[in-house]
Amino acid sequence: MKISKKIVLLGHFGVGKSSLIRRFVENTFSEDYKVTIGVHILKKTVTLNKEDKDVSLIIWDLEGNDDINNTRMSYLLGTNGFIYVFDVTRPSTYENLESDLKFIESKYANVPIKVVGNKNDLVTKEFLKQNNDKFGRLTNCYTSAKTGNNVEDLFNKLAGELIK
């Protein structure tokens, strides 16, 4: 039986949501920043070896927004999993992390959320440790769309959780 899951990427503009998806779906990266407006939807099928299943991930790349309340709610209909992305180098993208997560959880109580600190190629491990109080304790993983670090793993892990 075909399994299809909708994943929505949320977060401020310029944090690298589109780049993460492009790295995951096409394994490419561009330094050029092109603003996403509305929503792009891409699809990739992953094979989960442990579960011996193929899962089609329908990935919704939402327009970045510095206020989560402005997100178009129609985009979130039927979401199976969220990825909340912030930029580890820009405090404005994670300073409302806690309240943004509460907002998502209040509307989608049982939907898994992965919190991702992107652009980890631009900072040191020491920096990430030092910022544990600001974002570290809420973050599931650090990624780099540029180098591909942890990107595949992020989507595969979430896919695994979605079929449990």
Partner: protein, 507 residues
């Protein structure tokens, strides 16, 4: 007519399709995407996968704005509306092509977001640089401060040793020690000055001063120095120079000393010429031109731009000692007066450094000279009780030795606020003066001074308190004054500066 035009030119931008409950497109026009009939909606684009649960709803309208769709090589950005109905009626899918509108929006958003991100990154870079700069300056200030206690020890004990009946060879050694410690002291002062300049904490103190006295004083010192070095020293001071001007004499002396020292440093033979002339007096301002000409090693043209940079020594030979701050500080100080230092040089032949500085020049300027006693004097046969609040053993010993050499002082040494208050409150031992270190390990001296000033007994509140500190920034001095501290002795201090300041308060 209109109907005919419409038929010819109207561009339809809306596609209507009817879908059955399984997602199969049963009817559709071809306005945006042709050949959709008999296809399942989920095969058209992944966006439509979210329709599966929605198709089963009744009488509902779902609006999705700004969706990027592509099918069979055609891409649009548009709004998608799904309308479901009661009964057996199939849902209606409407797709509006708003590509042009959304592309305009995309351009605006691109500019806005790039600008916001750019300013955020700039702000972060600035705050990072500021933090780094603050760290550097704090480090320099603390490090310099830590150097001052041992330096006080070296200076004090060199003085004491000097008076202990030395033979000529020992006297020579002492002279080397004293000259080395003076050199170290001037380097620490330079580094501290630079850190003050870089954080904008160095302000000029504009007061009347005697220009002729200042340049004649420099002439005397450097004539002696030139003789010792086997160099010629010439000076040309214009007769038109005004005597009394308003300006920061201390900093002017520093600028001229740095320029002259630089000339002496890089001149092995030949001469150094010190010229001072008047450019003009206008609108109660005098512009004075200073020039130092040497026949030293000169500077290569490509290096001239770097000579005023901090920690830069164009000539890296070890024979030229120093950390390369003199010219940098001179440049900063001259810039504080809105002036500029010019340099011309010929490699191998020598250099000329010159600057014009503006001073106040009014007839009302009067010197406020405080005659400095040549010898510090205290009331004969009187004994003074001094309380030293200091936790550095070197400074404790230095003060002890200096005071002991006078035979007129009883010294108590403490370093905790409790001990200070207990000693002062003890009527059997009334203190004539408190010497207060500011940077104690556990406490700040100015906080302890505040406690002393709060004591209930009037006589305790009036004990003169003199701070011993290296921290003499403008805001530090304000803080000490506010804490009730009467005066400050800058570390590292020597016998004369300690006793001189103390004598002002001991009657």
């Amino acid at each position: 007519m209109l109907k005919a035009y419409k038929e010819k030119y109207a561009k339809a931008l809306i596609q209507y399709s009817i879908i059955d409950l399984s997602g199969l497109i049963v009817e559709s026009d071809d306005v945006l995407f042709p050949n959709m009939v008999n296809q399942n909606i989920v095969d058209i684009h992944p966006f439509f996968e979210c329709f599966s649960p929605l198709l089963l709803s009744k009488n509902e309208e779902f609006i999705f704005s700004c969706i990027h769709l592509d099918y069979n090589g055609k891409s649009i950005i548009g709004d998608v509306i799904l309308q479901t109905f009661d009964g057996d009626k199939f849902p209606l899918l409407t797709m509006h092509d708003l590509t042009s509108h959304y592309n305009n929006y995309q351009t605006t958003a691109q500019v806005r977001n790039e600008s916001v991100i750019h300013s955020q990154i700039l702000e972060l870079k600035n705050s990072y640089l500021k933090e780094k700069e603050e760290f550097k300056n704090t480090f320099i200030a603390n490090f310099s401060h830590e150097l001052r206690d041992p330096l006080t020890g070296i200076i004090t004990f060199s003085d004491i040793l000097e008076k202990s009946g030395l033979n000529q060879q020992q006297q020579n050694y002492i002279n080397i020690m004293k000259s080395s410690s003076n050199f170290l002291k001037s380097m620490i002062d330079d580094i501290l000055d630079l850190s003050k300049i870089e954080v904008g904490k160095l302000d000029l103190v504009i007061e009347p001063f005697d220009l002729i006295e200042l340049i004649e004083d420099l002439k005397s010192s450097y004539t002696v120095k030139a003789k010792q070095r086997g160099l010629e020293f010439h000076s040309n001071f214009s007769e038109k120079l005004p005597q009394i001007l308003g300006g920061d004499a201390l900093r002017l002396r520093q600028v001229l000393t740095n320029l002259l020292n630089n000339a002496f440093k890089f001149t092995q033979s030949g001469s150094i010429t010190f010229n001072v002339s008047l450019n003009q007096i206008r609108a109660q301002k005098a512009s004075v031109h200073f020039e130092v000409v040497d026949t030293g090693i000169g500077i290569k043209e490509e290096n001239i731009k770097d000579i005023f940079n901090s920690f830069t020594q164009i000539n890296n030979q070890n024979s030229y000692k120093g950390v390369g701050l003199g010219l940098s500080i001179a440049k900063y100080l001259v810039e504080l007066t809105k002036g500029k230092i010019n340099v011309t040089s010929e490699y191998g032949k020598g250099s000329t450094f010159s600057t014009s500085i503006n001073f106040l020049a009014t007839h009302s300027l009067k010197l406020n000279k405080k005659p400095r006693p040549k010898q510090v004097a205290f009331v004969k046969d009187k004994k003074y009780n001094i309380l030293l609040v200091e936790d550095s053993e070197i400074t404790q010993l230095s003060v002890l030795k200096i005071l002991a050499s006078r035979g007129q002082f009883f010294l108590d040494i403490v370093y905790t606020p409790e001990d200070v208050l207990s000693k002062i409150s003890n009527y059997d031992n009334e203190f004539d003066l408190v010497l207060m270190d500011i940077k104690l390990k556990e406490n700040d001296g100015d906080d302890i001074a505040k406690l002393i000033r709060k004591l209930p007994e009037k006589q305790h509140r009036k004990i003169p308190i003199i701070a011993l500190t290296a921290k003499v920034f403008k805001e530090d001095l304000k803080r000490y004054k506010k804490a009730g501290i009467n005066d400050v002795i800058k570390k590292p201090f020597d016998e004369v500066s300690l006793l001189d300041t103390m004598s002002k308060y001991l009657k």
